[in-house]
């Protein structure tokens, strides 16, 4: 019997996957999935152009500089001392500042801005009246900052919006879409248990969402690390938990598809209008941090947040309630989080199996 069920599930998956991946009405899901990829691609292109400019500036300079050379410049040094240390600045600006004296008159302070580069990092020096008054180093790479930006895009756009609505579009349509197309009877007239059909459709949806969203996430990670030079990339991936973080992001994406998929499959069988359940689930997930401990556990985002590899720090001055949304004050361990999502998804699917047995074909009332 199990062998027959597997054969039937494979048949359902084959039929559904083709429909789901190539449906014209699902185009917006691809756009949602690819938006962060476009963002990171644009960022990487910008970084590459900046790096090209830095290399050009470094070549124009009188000396070949290292990052240590750039760090040697301090406030209070004189302009000639800086030039003696780093050589003739490749880019130099002159400008005058008019300042008011205590006596009421005005004086003119001459400024010079030097722009040096070691080919990757840029140094901006502000010399006023012959003395260094400002030093700013723009580092080519700031792994900690970049990781947080990536985590922010992942948590606040990709996870909560792109995957959420993508799963809504795909899983809701598995049954509801066929009712609207008046083609569900094709399955209901086949010698296949309704529960087996439901599992087949769910797996097809899961596979489709994983193909779309995990692939997009993988490409985002590749594009994100592409901005680094090979040395920095190695450092990030192999010595700075980069690989582990990448694996975690891919895993969280797949688990999000599993969790949200189960909810939306059930909603597609229970509700005619997808807007109401989608709004209810969205609100439920959004207010999760404010829920009592027991209720928190019956959501997907609660576990997903615990699995996200990079914590996003709350900006200083953010209200406590708002920072609850950003941070995760009571994370659960990785095994519990994974198990939690799987159990929640299985519970929802189990409840859905009763509904699928009761479903009737009555297209005229839909």
């Amino acid at each position: 019997m199990t062998q027959l069920w597997w054969a039937q599930i494979k048949s359902v998956v084959r039929l559904e996957l083709k429909k789901t991946l190539f449906a014209r009405r699902g185009l917006w899901i691809y756009i949602l999935a690819l938006l962060p990829l476009l963002l990171f691609t644009a960022h990487t292109v910008m970084v590459s152009r900046e790096r090209g400019r830095s290399v050009h500036i470094a070549r124009q300079g009188g000396k070949t500089l290292t990052y240590q050379d750039l760090l040697a410049v301090r406030s209070g040094m004189t302009g000639p001392e800086v030039v003696a240390l780093l050589g003739r600045p490749p880019i130099r600006f002159h400008w005058n500042e008019q300042t008011q004296l205590q006596s009421g008159g005005f004086t003119i302070v001459p400024h010079e801005d030097y722009h040096y580069s070691d080919g990757a990092n840029d140094l901006f020096v502000d010399v006023a009246d012959g003395k260094v008054v400002g030093v700013h180093i723009h580092e080519a790479y700031n792994l900690a900052e970049d990781s947080i930006v990536f985590a922010g895009v992942f948590q606040f756009f990709y996870l909560r919006l792109a995957i959420f609505f993508g799963c809504l579009g795909i899983f809701m349509n598995l049954f509801r879409g066929e009712i609207l197309d008046k083609s569900l009877h094709f399955y209901f007239l086949s010698p296949i248990r309704r529960e087996v059909l439901m599992v087949g459709k769910f797996l097809a949806g899961l596979l489709a969402t994983c193909i779309i969203f995990v692939t997009s996430e993988l490409l985002q990670i590749i594009v994100f690390t592409w901005q680094f030079s090979p040395n920095v990339r190695d450092l990030y991936l192999y010595h700075n938990h980069g690989l582990a973080q990448a694996a975690a992001y891919l895993g969280v994406t797949a688990l999000a598809c599993l969790g949200y998929g189960a909810f939306f499959l059930a909603a597609g069988m229970l509700f005619r209008n997808p807007i109401l359940p989608a709004a209810a689930i969205l609100v439920w997930e959004a207010v999760n941090p404010f829920l009592p401990a027991l209720l928190k556990k019956f959501s997907v985002i609660y576990y997903l947040k615990s699995l996200c590899p990079v914590d996003i720090p709350s900006p200083p001055g953010m209200p406590a309630l708002m920072s609850l949304l950003v941070s995760n004050p009571d994370p659960v361990s990785t095994p519990i989080a994974i198990l939690g999502i799987v159990i929640v998804a299985l519970l929802v699917l189990y409840a859905s199996s009763f509904q699928v047995r009761r479903m009737e074909i009555n297209y005229t009332t839909e």
Binding site: Q8, L189, S190, P191, R357
Partner: protein, 319 residues
């Protein structure tokens, strides 16, 4: 039907179906034997509801249905023995005719090669081989009807449920399909057909179920059903050499209501309250001199039965 038990029948036991407050069918009791059974009734009489109940697409509000001892809510068992060609004119997107049939067989658990062979066989039976590799979305109404029939037939089911199976078919295809249904029924299968075309129902059916407003008005073999309708006198058509003499003798019977002599003076139409007594009397008359060429019941068909039982509601039924 000797040897046919309740387990070998399609049984409706006090079945009712309500869609909210709207009646689908009410208090239906049926026991359908093998052969071709036609569901006849005007639109909204409950024919499709009865078929959907039989196939588990809708569940009864009350009562119990068994299809050869199978429950309709067990699709994994039911659709191994049953094929249903619905009236729903939509198909899964992007499939060719062949894929539509073979996918159904793959869902049933057949391996790819077997499914392919069975699908082609079914497609050949409905004469759609040439168009089988084209997308169903581009099919004409008749082709869509035929591919649905192929899907219903492809796994050689014992029970074939066909909702308006002749709709959209040209006269030649209709004749072919009627022959196909008869052949399937001759093999001992149960063929349940709903149709608006009464003369086709007459040609196909072994028994009929007449429905009106969700109720079963009559069921059984056409002749038995006709015999049950006492309030309408039986009509008999006779061709003979001396119709006026025959008319005079027939009018002596107290059961005879009306006699009409044909314009060509070679026949007459008789209306009688008691057909059995009439035929006995006719035998006696024939022995005593009048040469009778033919005797045939004039209202012993679905058309007349339908007219008598359902009558004015049947405006949309084609005769």
């Amino acid at each position: 039907m000797t040897g046919v038990t309740a387990n070998d029948r399609i049984v409706f036991d006090d079945v009712s179906k309500f869609y909210g407050e709207i009646l689908g069918v009410n208090r239906v009791n049926l026991s359908i034997p093998p052969g071709v059974t036609s569901l006849v009734g005007p639109n909204g009489s409950g024919k499709t509801t009865l078929m959907n109940l039989m196939t588990g697409l809708v569940r009864p509000t009350r009562g119990r249905i068994r299809i050869l001892d199978c429950a309709p809510d067990e699709p994994e068992k039911l659709f191994k023995i049953l094929g249903y060609s619905t009236q729903f004119d939509s198909f899964p997107k992007g499939l060719t005719g062949f894929q539509f049939v073979s996918s159904y067989l793959r869902l049933a658990g057949f391996d790819s090669q077997t499914a392919s062979q069975m699908a082609w066989r079914a497609i050949e039976r409905v004469n759609l081989t040439e168009a089988a590799t084209r997308n169903v979305a581009g099919y004409s109404k008749g082709m869509r009807q035929r591919i649905r029939l192929a899907q219903a037939l492809c796994h050689n089911p014992q029970v074939l449920v066909l909702d308006e199976p002749l709709n959209g078919l040209d006269p030649l295809a209709r004749a072919e399909m009627i022959a196909l249904f008869r052949a399937v029924a001759t093999d001992g299968c149960y063929v349940i057909i709903s149709s608006h075309i009464l003369h086709e129902v007459d040609a196909i059916s072994d028994q009929v179920i007449l429905l009106s407003n969700g109720y079963v008005v009559a069921e059984g073999e056409i002749h038995s059903v006709r015999d049950e309708i006492r309030e309408h006198p039986a009509q008999v058509l006779i061709r003979c050499d001396r119709p006026r003499e025959l008319a005079a003798r027939i009018m002596q019977s107290k059961h005879t209501i009306e006699v009409c002599i044909h314009d060509d003076e070679r026949g007459l139409l008789i209306k009688t309250r008691d057909a059995d007594q009439f035929y006995l009397m006719l035998n006696h008359i024939a022995v005593n001199g009048i040469e009778i060429e033919s005797v045939a019941p004039a209202d012993d068909d679905v058309n007349s039965v339908y007219e008598y039982l359902i009558g004015n509601e049947s405006g949309e039924v084609a005769r």
